[in-house]
């Protein structure tokens, strides 16, 4: 409960200003700033180097990748062999498809049910609202990790082990998102809705035709975070799938490492292939993602 409160506390105050994206303080050249730049450049290189090193390795032949002493620049030139091998022989295209399918399904269901619930908690004064909301918010402190044992047993009973539904269904409950959406709906002016209600529109129509279109930015932010979380989730898909054909990308990659053993270039090529979709998502939605983290403090975990 308290985690959520602390997390979203800054929301209202910070939403308007859209910090992080706007640069306020002018940059002045002083000795101290030069030092700051030097330190930052070094740190940025440290942060980018793992990418560079992994990309370089993925573009080497296996002989060059396994050469000692280490060669940064391949002696036999760059090659896409590792990528070709990984895509042809491996399960990677299949895993990308599984990840895409399950992540999209999780995102659609999560956002649909969480926005309906968030709207009701914000606008409709129904019996039991308070205790239900308290229960949902209270559940935020429950670490999903403690549920893997009973959930697995449950999935066995439902015959959902090694099925897409088994991967999807336990991941669609996001109490934090209900909380964030409710906070957003609280701030939507009520006048528009009242006018429509007077004209005889029912709750669902008001929600679908007036409130949702006004909520596009927050729905986009929530969707991106749910999608990234689902795409990257490891523990639950790992527990609930054994069949390589049903594995999501992160789970499948874990098996690649042992299967390819010392095929270093192929290992790195699979890692790069797995990272690419998210890098693309980031480049497209940079603003929403950064604003989402900065204003709501949610993401990942």
């Amino acid at each position: 409960m308290s985690t959520a409160t602390a997390t979203a506390e800054g929301t209202a105050a910070e939403e308007a200003a859209s910090p992080v994206l706007s640069r306020r303080r002018p940059f002045k050249v002083r000795p101290l700033s030069i030092l700051a730049i030097a330190i930052l450049v070094i740190l940025a290189i440290c942060w980018l180097l793992p990418f560079v090193w992994s990309v370089l390795t993925s573009l080497k032949s296996e002989t060059d990748a396994a050469a000692t002493p280490v060669t940064w620049w391949p002696a036999n030139g760059f090659t896409f062999d590792a990528y070709a091998k990984v895509i042809q022989d491996g399960n990677i295209p299949r895993w990308v498809w599984n990840s895409l399918l399950t992540s999209v399904a999780i995102t659609v269901i999560t956002v649909a049910i969480a926005s309906l619930a968030g709207y009701a908690f914000s606008r409709i004064d129904f019996a039991g609202r308070r205790w239900l909301f308290a229960a949902i918010i209270g559940s935020i402190i429950i670490p999903p990790q403690i549920l893997i044992v009973p959930l697995f047993r449950q999935m066995l009973a439902f015959n959902m082990v090694d099925t897409y539904w088994g991967i999807i269904l336990p991941q669609v409950i996001a109490p934090v998102m209900v909380f964030i959406l409710k906070k957003f709906f609280d701030q939507v002016p009520i006048e528009l809705e009242e006018a429509a209600r007077v004209d005889g529109a029912n709750r669902l129509r008001v929600f679908l035709q007036i409130v949702l279109p006004l909520s596009r930015p927050i729905l986009a932010a929530v969707s991106i975070f749910v999608f990234i979380g689902a795409w990257n989730n490891f523990l639950w898909p790992f527990v609930v799938t054994n069949n390589a054909n049903l594995m999501t990308l992160p789970v499948g990659l874990q098996t690649v490492k042992s299967a390819y053993g010392i095929q270093y270039a192929q290992n790195m090529a699979s890692a790069i292939l797995a990272a690419l979709p998210l890098i693309v998502v980031f480049l497209f939605f940079q603003k929403q993602i950064i604003k989402g983290v900065a204003t709501t403090g949610f993401g990942g975990t």
């Binding site: 330190i39 609202r129 044992v149 449950q154 609280d186 890692a271 940079q286």
Partner: protein, 310 residues
């Protein structure tokens, strides 16, 4: 922050009921709206919590045998189980080792970036992008970098005359290696929270301070750091709760080894249940772990309420 809270509670936006029929209508539509979420919530969260507690009182195995209730025997066993305490100790060690740099480094990064340097997008990209990668990708990258003979890190260190180190296989270095990877992977999230907080500090405070003759260092100590207090508390708490749940990257990089020195409590739960086939015992350890998380959350709530009361 307190004003933000006050605003939110002052904007209820519910229509007051106008008689019994309106009330019944509200009940109907309200429950219709929350029904889908509540159904999933009940089946995939509330029920597993109850069922998990029941399982923890049984000798349940993966095959479904041993369903009979054996009381708190699993809990008693867990408290006397050196492996559980060892993995719990590893989790605490990881939390301490990772939380400190994840707060300090993210603060330093945010302070440096916030000096108004050009190329803001590049800094944000460099430090935040790793956060979006899957744990498997991060683990693959870093296992390769830590490779004792072929990895980048020993190659770079060799230039400084450092002998090759078996980062992930050496008991002395394994936990530190995992922590370094974790800092690289997740520091961007805290960095963005700090950056947002820094840019919310009113510029007038700095102007007033420089009129009074306060230099950059003085301003940092007297204005910036105190103003970041609430953000630091928030980051600390989120970080501690996140670090206690660590599993993915450790399992993928070291499998908990060498000799179990990196095995966290979540891995112990996973192994007890799914490779040791003792689901009942694994459920009991889950509940002990849960109790610890609840206690920390309560402490956080208490700190929070004291802060907003002050």
């Amino acid at each position: 922050m307190t004003t933000a809270l006050a605003n939110q509670t002052a904007a209820p936006g519910t229509t007051p009921g106008r008689g019994p029929s309106r009330k019944a209508q509200n009940n109907l539509s309200g429950w219709a709206f929350v029904a889908p979420f509540t159904a999933f919530f009940a089946v995939f969260l509330v029920w597993p919590i109850i069922y998990g507690f029941y399982m923890s009182l049984t000798g349940s195995s993966l095959s479904g045998s041993g369903q009979e209730v054996i009381g708190f025997a699993n809990y008693a066993e867990a408290f006397g189980d050196p492996d559980m305490w060892h993995s719990f100790g590893n989790t605490v060690l990881f939390t301490v080792l990772s939380t400190i740099p994840l707060v300090v480094v993210s603060l330093i990064l945010a302070l440096l970036v916030n000096t108004g340097l050009p190329g803001q997008w590049l800094w944000r990209l460099s430090f935040f992008l790793p956060f979006l990668l899957a744990s498997t990708v991060v683990s693959l990258f870093w296992t390769w970098m830590y490779n004792p003979q072929l990895g980048m890190i020993n190659d770079v260190l060799a230039n400084f005359g450092v002998e090759p180190i078996s980062w992930l296989q050496d008991e002395k270095y394994a936990m530190v290696s995992v922590v370094i990877t974790t800092v690289w992977w997740t520091v961007g999230f805290n960095f963005l929270l700090y950056l947002a907080a820094l840019q919310n500090i009113p510029e007038q405070q700095y102007e007033a301070a420089s009129l009074d003759g306060a230099g950059g260092w003085r301003q940092l100590i007297s204005i910036t750091i105190p103003q970041l207090g609430p953000t630091t508390v928030l980051i600390l708490i989120l970080q501690i709760l996140a670090s206690l749940k660590v599993f993915d990257q450790i399992y993928q990089m070291t499998q908990g080894g060498p000799s179990g020195v990196t095995r966290p409590i979540v891995e112990y739960i996973y192994e007890t249940g799914f490779t040791g086939f003792r689901l009942g015992y694994a459920a009991a350890i889950s509940y002990i772990f849960f109790a610890i998380i609840v206690v920390i959350s309560l402490i956080q709530a208490w700190v929070n309420s004291r802060r907003s009361a002050a």
